[in-house]
Subunit: 314 residues, 2 copies
Amino acid sequence: MDKKCIGVDVGGTSVKIGLFEEDGRLLKKWEVRTRKEEDGKHILPDVAASIRQVLEEEGISFDQIKGAGMGVPGPVLPDGSVEICVNLGWHNVNPQKELSAMLENIPVRSGNDANVAALGEMWQGGGKGYRDIVMITLGTGVGGGVILDQKIVSGAHGLAGEIGHFHMRDEEKEHCNCGGTGCLEQVASATGIAREARRKMASCETPSVLREYGDKVTAKNVLDAAKAGDALADEVVEVVCRYLGQALAQASMMVDPEIFVIGGGVSKAGQYLIDRIYGYYDHFTPISKNKAKIGLATLGNDAGIYGAARLILE
Amino acid sequence: MDKKCIGVDVGGTSVKIGLFEEDGRLLKKWEVRTRKEEDGKHILPDVAASIRQVLEEEGISFDQIKGAGMGVPGPVLPDGSVEICVNLGWHNVNPQKELSAMLENIPVRSGNDANVAALGEMWQGGGKGYRDIVMITLGTGVGGGVILDQKIVSGAHGLAGEIGHFHMRDEEKEHCNCGGTGCLEQVASATGIAREARRKMASCETPSVLREYGDKVTAKNVLDAAKAGDALADEVVEVVCRYLGQALAQASMMVDPEIFVIGGGVSKAGQYLIDRIYGYYDHFTPISKNKAKIGLATLGNDAGIYGAARLILE
């Protein structure tokens, strides 16, 4: 009989947990609060207790569980250890070893959360049916994950998929969180799009519906206005899609996936956004018509639990 | 007993062939002319005849041969077939199947020559001892190959490693061979470096030893002059290394190899070139100090036969 698997997505505010069939069906999902006090030492015990409780409620024994996967918001070394995870307060821990010990020694595997979310989208989301995908998450920042032959490419130093920190724009003067300037993230994240709109409003007199939001303008405002034909918003979206298209072109000529999967809050703009990215992506890949498609993520905030569960099936 | 393997590097002018021990020792290498007449139909029979002759001379029987690998100057599909190879005149052939049939059905595997050269450098060259490398070849063009977990990443459409066609420079007006403008290849290939020097000479009055070469200036002239302190040549090398450093940074944040291996004629400038690329590579990867090194290729024109032989050991 097929076993079940557990996906744990550890975030800074809450831990999402999902119970899955091996074929990818989500049986149940729930959350526990992330207690970051005392260097986050309560997080894993809380997760373990919650899993035990749910399994008991569902009448599932540990020998019916294939294992658990876990997404961690920071770099994870190949042996599963975490040197430092600022978001959780962890220092020099091996969360997969610890969680396994708390759960009757079931196998536990862990990975960086952005990579794990990409694996989830490959398994049951926008990348379903593909083996090679690159996921780009346009949220507060710009994250990425590279999946080749159905496996996460973490890189030799955990930097694989950090497409948000591609240097794209020489004229940028402000610093990115990474310490650089002109990163893709500074233009194409939700934060970046809003900033771009504020700059554009300050630099010209073009009338725009965005002006009523003033400094509170959001990426959603910008994309909605651009869709409705607002000229200033359109200029902002044009810049965003130009750099995204260029970055995807470079990613294509580096690992050449079957499909790019675009997720995160900004991707709620849907096919409209994809179509505009396509224009530049095509422009920057004249080398071949035969190349990766661009599609939308479909799992939303559940991508992490799906990918975490999939980790244990590798 | 360990078997021997054969590496075949099919080029537009000559086919290089090497006989190897499985541990990577090159026992013998030789060449045959590439007869491109009649859609290149003589190429594989010539190669097979030459291999048979050498094995006979060396007293090696086919059951001592593990197989042969072959690098092809164009895209190779996953099943080894070649839809079109302009350099050889091939259309819709499966060279690995054909060569195998001509050589007592020993296993034959093939791959794109740039990828195969990267595999060679990983096996016995500048990337020896590493599992994850990205090779960049600075020759007439800029080629690349991505090796992860000791295997070639060809990509879903054969575009992986086409780092030479990363769009880097918006202000470029001339077209690249790929149809784009502002590709890395247009600046960092031997051809690109020479062109950059000609442009620089035309655009300023700065005295330079390069002026005596006029329009015949070569990449080697430029690098030699820069090493000797020539100001104009230095400016050219600065531009070249800036774009190379930026492209390597992007490659690092995409697949994060252990090492970049720089090959091709331009790389004869040696550690001087590497050091100058490092400056920009570091500048464009503030995200982490812990990242891929940059080193020199060591196999020169033999990288292709090494990598081809290694293909059969995968």
